[in-house]
Symmetry: C2
Subunit: 347 residues, 2 copies
Amino acid sequence: MNIYDISQKAGVSTATVSRVLNQSTKVTEKTRNKVLAAIEECGYTPNAFARGLGLNTMKTVGIMCADSSDPYFARAIYFLGEALRKSGYDVILSCTGFDQDMRERQMSLLLNKRVDSVILIGSNYTSDTDENNRYITDAAKSIPVMMINGNINASNVYCIASDDRTAVFDVTSQLISSGRNRPLYIYNSRSYGGIQKLRGFRDALKNNRIKADESNELFIGFRRSGGEIFPVKEIKKSIEDHFAKYGSFDCIIAAEDIIAVGALKFASSNGITVPDKLAVAGYNNFELCECCEPELTSVDNHLELLCDKCVSLLMEVFSGESIPKQTVFSCNIIERATTDLKERPRL
Amino acid sequence: MNIYDISQKAGVSTATVSRVLNQSTKVTEKTRNKVLAAIEECGYTPNAFARGLGLNTMKTVGIMCADSSDPYFARAIYFLGEALRKSGYDVILSCTGFDQDMRERQMSLLLNKRVDSVILIGSNYTSDTDENNRYITDAAKSIPVMMINGNINASNVYCIASDDRTAVFDVTSQLISSGRNRPLYIYNSRSYGGIQKLRGFRDALKNNRIKADESNELFIGFRRSGGEIFPVKEIKKSIEDHFAKYGSFDCIIAAEDIIAVGALKFASSNGITVPDKLAVAGYNNFELCECCEPELTSVDNHLELLCDKCVSLLMEVFSGESIPKQTVFSCNIIERATTDLKERPRL
DNA sequence: TTGTATGCGTTATCAT
DNA sequence: ATGATAACGCATACAA
């Protein structure tokens, strides 16, 4: 069942059928109806491959992320997918993990499939060497590349990001203003975004003349992968070790909500009251925040906004407009029960 | 840059280039090398659309689910994607919400894209009327349809499911055996799987000669959608209302982990000790279970196993083998701190 | 407004 | 083992 069959049945040429299919106005109402009737009768749908071959697009964009089961990425995929669908695009999903080889391989698979664009979710796609970013800038030579929370400066790659540095700076500053003076920052990623957050923390300390050394920072090397459950217990253990080694702290700023949950576990199992003796702030403001006890203060990074903006910018690129290569949104602190952020005179 | 250019550069015919590209053995080592050199030199990659047109496949399968940001679906997408990738297939992702119209529309979009198969994740794709399932059985006329946790009896649709009825039956029975006699079942979905779970609960009560009426069952009509945060507070409120209306219960079986979290919130804010006064069991055994306080007993439904099996069965279908139309796996109860399941003499 | 003819880049069939 | 060429199904430039 192809366009030729339909043209036969309707008694017109294939060109006319094609015109009807493509909403061309240059078709009489009468012939249009004949064609539509034939199409309806046969339940005909045009072959997307042939169509793609002619138009050189199948209206699909590739989405790459490390792990679609990570809540942050999962939500981004959802928001991006919805926005793209509304604009008439389908998404090919590609999970790469954190391995450079896999990233490159998956990117080239997407390019082979002739996607119209690739969207990279997560700052882990921003490497610190040009060499490791090459596969991205190369891809950008043939199609626009969009990065959610990435930061690569190259032609035809566009970055949409939340201002993580400022967010961590603000939450840390507010904790200090509320009377805390022994902060601990806990993080699990040294990706671009991870570095930005860490900078925010350090800047806040410097700004408040609090000494910053290894006692203030705890790196935990865990990373979600393969739909596996995040090791809250291990986080708790790491905090206990840190505590034993460096002594106490009166507030914890976590680079991810799940780390903050580990901190709450640490507190409860060691008889430390939250937020009295220990304030805790998370990052991402997901479902988890309302599930733990007490409920978690967290930073909302407006993921939906980022995703919507990403897609609308992409559509502008498709229609030939030129768009900013970098778009940054600020974050919001959502206060719940693990902090008490009202300002207090510094002792 | 196409296959013709390469054939020119290598001094061979397009047929030979194609043979090299498709690992055909019928080509001399020498000519193969000439061709490979030309390909390498030009950085040539075959056009997937033209390829699809000739082979009538682009090696892609469509995945449909209600909401890719739901942790259960997100994990399924991850596992399916990985397994498919290993088998050389890409995935087109399609979120449909819970709306029949959208389901049908998305399915037809996938069929238009000529995917090789469609995988439906979630029992919500199993409607109770044939009419509403029509779009699935119709699709199955052209491609194999796989259902994760679905149950539709039709030619060319294959269901892979966990035995939810038995799982809820078992967890309820064990709670009763451990000395509880006023159980409450809380659920939020009347999909096929939702009904199965409810049946398991009712069967367990009947089996233990415990009266079953509306005081034992609480339906909360919330459903995750659009990446929105699940309303734990509302769940807690609903339980309080139910409590006020029907009096107390000594164990709660929840159809989803997040509901169980709501139950824990209810307990803690009403001074009810868990598991002493109230035992709580969740369902899905996700990350959440280790984040709440106390840690949640839950049912593990082996999602990864289901997904792997789904893909391996699909590959068998592709290679012409005939496979069972229904494959069922049993679940496991993972006991944590919200229950005390050791058997006790019934008073 | 409609039809004719050709190109799109492969793969596959049939010769050689 | 290799080459010539016909599909594959659609879009479109050009002709009418």
